[in-house]
Symmetry: C2
Subunit: 192 residues, 2 copies
Amino acid sequence: MELNPIIADRWSPRAFDAEATLRPADLTLLLEAARWAPSHGNTQPARFVVGQRGDDTFRRIFDVLRPGNQLWAGRASVLLLGARATADERGPVPNSEYGLGLAVQNLALQAVDLGLVTHQMGGFDHEAAARAFALPEDVVPVVVVAIGKLGDVGILPEELQAREKRPRERKPLSETVFTSTWGTPWTPGADA
Amino acid sequence: MELNPIIADRWSPRAFDAEATLRPADLTLLLEAARWAPSHGNTQPARFVVGQRGDDTFRRIFDVLRPGNQLWAGRASVLLLGARATADERGPVPNSEYGLGLAVQNLALQAVDLGLVTHQMGGFDHEAAARAFALPEDVVPVVVVAIGKLGDVGILPEELQAREKRPRERKPLSETVFTSTWGTPWTPGADA
């Protein structure tokens, strides 16, 4: 039993290929993947601003990134600002931050299917992003997603090369998945 | 160009097969999919409480669902309470609701790969859920995910049968994806 490859193979590199560009059809497909994510009562809170390397939107998204992210994110083919609509014509939208997460993960996995890589960043000036794109008051920026092709790790500054090669790590399920009551680890087959 | 099938084929049915149970290996794989999702600085905020139909945990998750969800969710094989850890030993965890969304979407898509269906619900008594499982103060319930096998639509009450057969609908990308500035629709190939 194995994870589906688009789930197993997703990771968040920093070494983007500075020459690669996204085909319009591929970028459309990524946004379609996000579009078909589920949401609370189908409220669809995910909103995006798309910049492609070389255009003004890309530059303005890049400009609000934290310096640590600016070290590498400028080589991405696309910078996507992801925001959540906190209200619609029926009133407040519940769990809009959660709903944006569902949508962006669909996009990130579709990217793997297309041979692309993504790196999601919370590290940017959220207020500056809202100003730069004149976001309405009920639209809140959450994430910037770098999208592109994987490049050679040698293009990165030395300390980022080391991070890039570090094995991926996660907490064991015994620390995050419980049954019966909080703190009682769930184990396969033991509950009944 | 088409969406990856696990993204295209995911939907949120209500007609769960009341006889189906999940193999422990399948349930583990779903939780592994959630585990490998990305998160802000690898803070991994997703937490879960697992109930399987017939056990006490399942009953207690079911009991906090809104009546409209209780009409159908009791036939699921698993009810999973999804919560977000808002802090860890390093301090507050940014975007924990978003991070839980990333993790649950991984799980929902892995379920499609296994021939299973999922239905995420925000409609439950969040305070009662926190009490029922003695969640710590920095762990906030967000979602209940019903997981199981698709059953016959005829098992549903009549009004839910109609909802089950309704075509899935989403806003067009022109209403949610912009470039240059807010409200200017992004179109493939038009930006440069």
